[in-house]
Symmetry: none
Subunit: 244 residues, 2 copies
């Protein structure tokens, strides 16, 4: 799969932003300069930059120039996307650190949710995700061993839990509960939360093969994170467009 020139330009700029060669707010070379650098027509450069702008990687100001956009982390509310993929899609680097990976006997309420016999164990993991070395998500996951027997043998600093699970147990149904909370203790420390800084807590339940598969708590720093969701209601129909 060979890369077309405009894609090469796009990737080049995106890489420069991801690697920190271009700093947020910095002015980028003008289209004219890029034409000369890459030896292509302006329309080709224009398309690359225009697409970067619609992806919110750069901001363009007519008459002034093109600037590296201030990063605003955001994540899909509706879909379950891999946080690593999302970060990479923004042209940033992803890294994760594993704090726990073990089998535990869950508290009664959790055991009930999983319809678990008393004394049975669940697999449990705690992973902190970084975007450009800034902590962005702390993930606390309980998972049914039956559906993910090899869970404890994974290296979650290489593959994310979501990636691994998606491969072996397709998600059938998902429920999200979103709350605004404050945190102290370990989670606040991991996410570098200022005292009293609000924190988004997303509690996600996923069902697979008709049974509860995982119970995940995702903590996001309130000041550096947004959840977004977009959807199109089914069956919309429009009266003829209003003239202006």
């Amino acid at each position: 799969m060979t890369e077309s020139p405009y894609q090469a330009i796009k990737r080049c700029i995106a890489d420069g932003i991801a690697s920190g060669n271009f700093v947020p707010g910095q002015v980028l070379p003008s289209e004219h300069e890029l034409c000369r650098s890459f030896g292509v027509a302006r329309m080709t450069v224009n398309r690359a930059m225009r697409e970067l702008a619609t992806e919110n990687l750069v901001r363009r100001v007519p008459g002034v120039g093109t600037f590296v956009a201030e990063p605003i982390a955001q994540s899909g509310l509706v879909e379950i996307r891999n946080i690593a993929d999302e970060i990479k899609a923004r042209g940033h680097t992803h890294r994760s650190q594993v704090f726990a990976l073990d089998a535990v006997v869950p508290p009664g309420s959790v055991a009930d949710a999983f319809d678990l016999a008393a004394g049975a164990t669940l697999y449990h993991s705690e992973v902190l995700h970084f975007e450009n070395d800034v902590p962005i998500q702390f993930e606390d996951r309980m998972i049914d061993p039956v559906l993910a027997p090899g869970y404890l043998q994974q290296d979650f600093s290489v593959i994310t839990p979501a990636q691994y699970l998606n491969g072996i147990a397709p998600v059938q149904e998902v429920e999200h509960v979103v709350q605004a909370v404050t945190q102290d203790g370990a989670i606040a420390k991991h996410l570098s939360l200022a005292p009293g800084e609000p924190c988004l807590l997303v509690t996600r339940r996923t069902w697979s093969a008709g049974r509860l598969a995982a119970l995940t708590k995702l903590y996001y720093p309130g000041s550096r994170f947004r959840l977004t969701g977009r959807f199109i209601p089914a069956g919309v129909q429009w009266p003829p467009a209003a003239q202006r």
Copy 2:
């Protein structure tokens, strides 16, 4: 604000799809034909169609043609439900109090989002909703007067803005941005927030007739509120490759 040719072509096709003139799966005119119809160069048509493709309104198959996309089936995590209905569904009583209902000249950023001429006004409302006399949501809404001409004449202590709007302007697309924030001032007072208590801020943008219809900020007290959503992932996208 005058519309550029490629935008006119885009809107024309999009309106055709929205109005049902074009049926999902139907072949659209080729770029060549559109060139002749609109009297423009192929690059102009190409840009319009390419953007429609990235917006998932149409699907393009090289060597074959351009087709109206099948509507994306996904139920909203955050559907637009009426807060009054939700509260009543819980068996509680709903009451609301109107703090503002007026026409305002919005700040520049908001005017831009609405694609508004300078100095033009938007309708604006501020309503506080109570569940069993406990404040549960503060709603700050900006809305395009064109789409809701009678907005200012409504009594929003009787009918909620969402109820009214749903009746006159069906929603085409919705975007939610969820953040955890802290508030002070009027909103904190309305919601009886304790100092430093986190607060869920949902910024909702709704599109109707292909244009931004409303920009709504919903504030929920973090300690007394949860946002929940459930959805079933869309199984298969499209079957073009799966065919043979």
